[in-house]
């Protein structure tokens, strides 16, 4: 099949970017979208042109590295699918496809389709963990967790940290990402002691990083390749509110 791509090219963070047209001929519908970009890059290099920079790694939909805005939709047209698992059979012969990087204030462009998503790491560093230093854990079965509870925690835990939720959100909010971690840890008995402190610190960090506020557009849930529910944001808001109410009682014992 043949496709016409309009790809965002931007040589560096400070450079001006623009969409550049590439006619991609004779590709197979069984190729993944990234394999098609590989083929295009090989052809560009053979012609002496600079290949298109894009992030990718596992190509199994789990590492969260791939990050393309395809026709204005994060990860492209298929529900619950990361770009690396998107195949050309989802497009029609002759289609024009726009390919752009994630766009959000907290995700500066590094080059072409590659953006800097370190802000998400810093949100985790602010409290997205259970403080369990190596070597002091009780037996795994000493902590009983009902199956439905652990299953719900796992639904939230499977976030791949790709940032599609941020890219899809008109406000550039990271609430689905943060909510997913807060829900995962907050549902488990191990996560209770730090629960409110965690919510307060992670939410505050989102503001510091320049993510926008959640106004419940719901675009994040639609774009999420792991179909994480917007309910996790409700959990985050509830925990954050409770944290504000009990401030001063243990929750602020640690320095911010």
């Amino acid at each position: 099949m043949n496709l016409v791509l309009h790809v965002w090219r931007q040589p560096g963070p400070a450079a001006k970017g623009s969409l550049v047209r590439y006619d991609v001929q004779d590709v197979s519908p069984d190729m993944s979208f990234l394999e098609m970009l590989d083929v295009l890059n090989e052809r560009l290099m053979q012609r002496g042109e600079a290949p298109i920079a894009f992030d990718h790694d596992c190509r199994e939909g789990i590492c969260g590295a791939c990050s393309l805005m395809i026709n204005g939709v994060a990860h492209g047209p298929n529900r619950g699918t990361a770009t690396c698992q998107l195949h050309l059979r989802s497009f029609r012969d002759g289609d024009h496809i726009n390919v752009e990087p994630w766009r959000a204030r907290a995700f500066p462009v590094i080059r072409d389709l590659v953006v800097n998503r370190s802000a998400l790491d810093r949100v985790i560093a602010a409290g997205g963990y259970i403080s369990a230093p190596t070597g002091c854990a009780p037996d795994g079965n000493a902590i009983l967790i009902p199956k439905d509870v652990v299953d719900t925690a796992m639904d939230a835990a499977q976030c791949i940290g790709c940032g599609a939720c941020v890219a899809a959100c008109p406000n550039g909010s990271a609430s689905l990402f943060t909510g997913a971690k807060i829900a995962h840890l907050g549902l488990l008995p191990q996560g209770q002691p730090e629960r409110l402190d965690r919510a307060r610190r992670m939410v505050r960090q989102m503001d510091i990083e320049g993510f926008g506020h959640c106004t419940l557009y719901g675009e994040c849930q639609e774009a999420c390749p792991k179909e994480i529910s917007i309910d996790t944001i409700t959990r985050m808001n509830r925990d954050f509110l409770r944290a504000s109410l009990v401030a001063g009682r243990g929750a602020t014992a640690r320095s911010d």
């Binding site: 596992c58 259970i130 199956k147």
Partner: protein, 637 residues
């Protein structure tokens, strides 16, 4: 070069405890005076970096991805083993040890494997404490399943995303330490070389992959947890970025490379569909718990699977290995698949595939139970192949998955360069010639959380380290060399892309040093690889500059290393005149096509010393002694 394994004396069960007591400690107040570099942030690297920081050391951690959370450990699906015996099915530390030594075809160190089995129990507890949402039973207790090579249910899992959840646990612990200031994280940074001063590893040279800056980092000890080198085959289940560069450059600075030819071929991957294909996708081995593997009895039978009656199907694993059946270990199951395809009974395009059929399980348990157990894997299969595995059997074929070889390490996980420690898949230890399923996660975390943090203090407390800084002449020399090498790629301005060389190398490796090898093929590969390497350095085309994000340049450096490693792998495979685990030499097989080991002559670890470019490496042997598990022909019949 002398290989001192440093295995503690005394009974197997007490070696680790005794050794832990005998090792020197670093006073807590002195720990903050030491800096430790950890390269890699997967299960091994992240768990080590977090644990070392918790102990009080200054840690610098490096990864080439944009975030440590993307390390390839994230892709491991099926599970992690631990000898908890929660199922009351006769499991024990000793049985896990026994299964692992036997599964590795008696080419691993008994003492290391026993320690791994001991620590496995603690790993589960640690991960549960971190909030890893392992699957649970209705009563709230941890659930288990069984995996290839074992007759007990000792595998803990989090849906089909166990590696992801374990890695996120370690990553969160790492981020906690980054926020506390104990770890400085360097994402999008690649290690280019190792700096050795007075015979000790004292630092690394890196390239900032965004700005291109080449920098030196000084430390008191270095830890490499950089994963495996399966991408030497081009097509593999590894992430695209996985590479050999860090351990290969360390090898060239004096670290012995052990058992490079031991490559695990995983039996349940989605078959190759076309020339453009960039990687192979693995389907978790746990599928073999309920899926039955078969091919048509008649060669060339091209009927749809549902039109082939029961009597005309060959459930070859159940037929050949009745007691393990579809749960036969990975090397055995892979070779059996190759054998039926070689007979012309393979299915799908090109005849390179076998069926993994869930029809019986769906009839017995209902589609809902199967969906609950394997739903996400079925979905992934459907997405890639456009076929519905609930209606049609999956088509699977073996693919390169894990490399058991790696840098040689002693019992303390230290390489032949003092101060250079190697953990996880990057070292050669624990799995022998074949790795049992659900053991990679176990080893990565055992090394990172529990072994290395103990053994590294012994090194730091015993070594007398001179103070050095980045202005030391050796640092300046190695940094300069790295810059020159990087620029050299750009100056070739040839006509062939980096990937075209990688694909050609991969084809040679798969054909000649893949699932089956023979002397003639390996000799041919040893002629073709140096010629390909020569062509690479003459005609490769790397566009762009070295002062920017340049993905072609990154790949060029890695492929240059694969072109050297590939030759060593073939050399190692050629010298090992026996079959064992993932190394199957066609000349050495029994009458019914099983691997034939030669314990008389080859019960050793082959550790290769680098002697210079275009010069044959020198072989050193570490004899393996089996005091507890008696050397015997493996049988899964």
């Amino acid at each position: 070069m002398e290989l001192k394994s440093g295995i503690p004396t005394g009974p197997l069960e007490l070696k680790w405890d005794k050794h832990r007591f005998e090792m020197k400690l670093v006073n807590p107040a002195n720990k903050r005076k030491y800096t430790i570099i950890v390269v890699g942030s997967g299960l091994a690297g992240a768990s080590a970096a977090a644990s070392l920081s918790e102990l009080g050391y200054n840690v610098k951690c490096f990864c080439f991805q944009d975030s440590p959370r993307r390390a390839h450990s994230i892709a491991a699906q099926g599970g992690i083993n631990a000898a908890k015996n929660y199922r009351n099915d006769g499991d024990s530390i000793y049985r896990l040890f026994y299964d692992t030594v036997k599964g590795g075809d008696f080419r691993a160190r008994e003492a290391n494997v026993y320690r791994l089995a001991q620590i496995s129990v603690e790993i589960i507890d640690q991960c549960v404490a971190q909030g890893v949402p392992f699957a649970r039973e209705y009563g709230g207790l941890l659930a288990n399943r069984s995996f290839g090579g074992a007759q007990v249910s000792r595998t803990f899992y989090a849906r089909g995303q166990t590696g992801q959840q374990l890695l996120l646990g370690a990553y969160q612990a790492l981020e906690k330490e980054i926020a506390r200031g104990g770890v400085t994280m360097y994402p999008r940074t690649e290690m280019l070389d190792l700096v050795v001063i007075d015979g000790r590893a004292r630092g690394i040279v890196t390239r900032d992959m965004v700005t291109g800056a080449i920098e030196a980092h000084v430390a008191d000890a270095i830890v490499l947890g950089t994963g495996g080198y399966g991408n030497v085959f081009y097509l593999s289940t590894n992430a695209k970025g996985s590479n050999v560069t860090a351990i290969w450059r360390a090898h060239k600075r004096g670290a012995a490379f052990a058992n490079p030819c031991y490559t695990q071929i995983h039996p349940t991957c989605i078959p190759v569909s076309g020339e453009y294909q960039s990687k192979l996708t693995l389907m978790s081995e746990s599928l073999r718990n309920d899926g039955r593997v078969w091919v048509p009895k008649q060669p060339g039978d091209s009927r749809r699977p549902d039109q082939i009656p029961e009597a005309e199907r060959d459930y070859y694993l159940e037929r050949r290995y009745p007691s393990f059946g579809n749960l036969a270990p990975r090397d055995i199951a892979s070779r059996a698949a190759k054998a039926v395809c070689d007979e012309g009974r393979g299915v799908g395009p090109g005849g390179l595939g076998v069926y993994l059929d869930f029809a019986d399980a769906i009839r017995r348990l209902g589609a809902e139970t199967i969906r609950e157990r394997y739903g996400n894997l079925f979905e992934m299969y459907q997405r890639i192949t456009d076929e519905d595995p609930y209606r049609m059997p999956m088509r699977i074929f073996p693919a390169v998955h894990y490399t058991m070889g790696g840098l040689w390490v002693d019992y303390n996980l230290m390489s032949t360069i003092p101060g250079l420690h190697v953990i996880g898949e990057a070292n050669f230890s624990d799995h022998g010639a074949n790795r049992l399923g659900a053991s990679a996660l176990m080893q990565g975390l055992a090394d990172g959380y529990f072994v290395l943090p103990n053994t590294i203090s012994d090194y730091l407390a015993s070594a007398r380290l001179e103070k050095v800084d980045a202005d030391h002449p050796e640092f300046r020399r190695v940094t300069g060399e790295a810059a020159v090498r990087t620029r050299r790629f750009l100056e070739i301005k040839g006509t062939r892309t980096v990937d075209s060389f990688h694909r050609e190398l991969g084809r040679i490796m798969w054909d000649k040093c893949g699932m089956a090898r023979n002397a003639a093929g390996l000799r041919e590969a040893l002629e073709r690889i140096p010629a390909l390497r020569e062509a690479f350095w003459r005609t490769v085309n790397v566009p762009g500059s070295d002062a920017e994000l340049n993905q072609a340049l990154e790949r060029a450096g890695r492929v240059a290393d694969f072109l050297e490693l590939g030759e060593l792998m073939c050399r190692d495979a050629l010298h090992r005149e026996e079959s064992c685990g993932g190394h199957f030499r066609e000349e050495h097989q029994t009458e019914d096509g099983e691997a034939r080991r030669n314990d008389e002559e080859f019960a050793y670890v082959a550790a290769w010393e680098y002697t210079g470019l275009e010069r044959p490496p020198q072989l050193h042997r570490e004899p393996l002694e089996f005091e507890y598990v008696h050397l015997a022909q493996r049988s899964y019949k």
